[in-house]
Amino acid sequence: MDGKKKTHRGAAHFLPRPGGWLALASLLLPLVVWQVLSSMPGMTAFILPSPLRVAVRFGEMLADGSLLRHTGYTLVEVLLGLALGSTLATFTGYALARSHLLERMLSPYLVASQAVPVVAIAPLLVIWFGPGLFSKVLICALIVFFPVLVNTVVGLRAVPQNLRDLMVALRASQAQILWNLEIPAALPVLLGGLRIGATLSVIGAVVGEFVGSDRGLGFLVNVGRGRYDTAMVFVAIITLILMALMLYGGAILVEKRLLRWEA
């Protein structure tokens, strides 16, 4: 198991953790470049607002409560979509990993579904399911589904056959094999899929809000563009980035907690 363990740990932290000064530099450098670019001659605020201007707008929108309200709404869509998409993907993935027949029957459809740009079908989903919360959750779920599915299948397939044989020899039931072997063994890869899904789900929510919505951060981007208020667009985008980072961090925490046994 030692070799396996190492790859799992590697998979959980494929992004190196920056040291203190490095983190500071990686935060400051883009800000400096941004400030320099925005103060170049001919660069007006509607083309590229300065970081300061965006910060002021951020403060205004935070103060009047609009930013929190819209962020909350998008977060609800993202979390519900993530829950729905990853649950469906995990069950489908389990079925596919167990049955080669099912995999052969379904995989062309699953791969083909990935070729459909979500942006293109989002307007249809809004017509079919109405402009409310559900269509947005569905779009998030769709975008989350595939990476989680693939990771579930890969994770389950990677369970060593000799361990499976051992469980069978010990007359373990299907449920026992699933609970005591397959889930723990597949969990690291599965959670990796969830981490990708968490950031993708944010994109899904914005795509849904672009099509037809009266709230959410995607809606704020549209309003900002509609009023030529580029600083507002920046505020919404930065908030989306923060949300994705937070979800990613959250997924890593979940991973650490669930994979404590590995340490």
Partner: protein, 324 residues
């Protein structure tokens, strides 16, 4: 690191500051990419006519249309990456409020083309009848939203008196499926399509209650200052196309089929009706001229809605000086 900065700098210099509007040497055509803010459509017939009959070419202009989003067109003109764009009146006021130096130089739609469509059984005959209704709107921005606010205001209502759903450009489907009791539409387009599909509708027209500024041709202050002749040539050739289309609607339809993919496959009766209804909105004693009152109404409406904080200098927002 220095290299990356230099590359970024170069990108910005090339894309941001390259002079786009400069006319080339005599004899050569000035290239003009004109964003019209919508997909290819019969309503752009005057532009197709002016292109097909060489009105632009005779004026030394090589015009190609760009079917991107309206706000992008305005932003590109504001940044002086393009010389002209087609945009609705409120966009010019909103853009100027954010410091975009754009000016409206030709009024194409004298009447605001937005309205509210509903099944006759809803009994929406006046703006006040909108009270309590569930209404679909493409989004809470752009001409649809401004026009809808004008109608609410005319009926003595506010947004809290209705249920407003943002449904994207799915008004026809939403009305037919009964998801919405009414929908904010373009008076020349969706009502004709609904009617043709066996779903006749009542239409409340914004233009019947408040005179606002519809779509027109915009340019930027740099182009006005450095190349006023270019602006004059552009407005003159566009007006020639408009007049020609008004005089010969059937020919304008025929020409448009060459430019609008699939138009020849659509129902010609419906498409000709859309064109005829659009033409009604263009007509004016002096084609292309902006009416001061309409601009003042627009400014007041935007102030009242809180879309702009300060009144804009209307003498910079629009001009009739570049018309023939």
């Amino acid at each position: 690191m220095k290299k990356i900065f230099l590359v970024l700098l170069a990108v910005v210099l090339i894309t941001g500051c390259a002079p786009q509007a400069a006319p080339t040497a005599a004899g050569e055509l000035v290239k003009i990419r004109l964003p019209v803010g919508y997909i290819p459509n019969i309503q752009f017939a005057p532009l197709y006519v002016a292109m097909e009959k060489g009105y632009y070419r005779d004026a030394g202009l090589d015009v190609t249309l760009d079917y991107s989003v309206e706000t992008d067109g305005v932003a590109l003109v504001g940044a002086d990456n393009l010389q002209f764009s087609v945009a609705s009146g409120e966009q010019v006021v909103l853009a100027r409020a954010q410091g975009l130096p754009v000016t409206y130089v030709l009024c194409w739609y004298q009447q605001y083309p937005v309205g509210v469509a509903s099944s006759p059984k809803e009994g929406i005959k006046t703006p006040a009848d909108l009270k309590g209704k569930k209404i679909g709107i493409p989004g809470l921005y752009g001409a649809s939203y401004i026009g809808f606010q004008a109608l609410l205001d005319a009926g003595g209502l506010t947004e809290s008196d209705v249920t407003l759903d943002s449904i994207g450009y799915n008004q026809v489907e939403a009305l037919k499926a009964g998801q919405e009791q009414a929908a904010v539409i373009y008076v020349t387009n969706e009502p004709v399509q609904l009617d043709a599909s066996g779903f006749p509708v009542d239409v409340l027209r914004v233009a019947d209650y408040l005179q606002l500024v519809g779509n027109g041709l915009i340019t930027n202050e740099t182009t006005l200052k450095d190349h006023p002749d270019l602006v004059r040539k552009m407005t003159a050739a566009t007006l020639k196309g408009m007049q020609d289309a008004l005089d010969n609607p059937d020919e304008a339809y025929q020409i448009s089929t060459k430019y609008v993919e699939g138009l020849d496959k659509s129902d010609p009766v419906v498409q000709k009706k859309i064109l005829a209804l659009s033409m009604e909105l263009w007509k004016a004693p002096k084609l292309g001229y902006s009416d001061e009152k309409a601009w003042e109404n627009m400014q007041q409406l935007l102030l009242k809605m809180g879309q702009i904080k300060q009144p804009q200098d209307l003498s910079k927002v629009y001009s009739n000086e570049y018309l023939p």
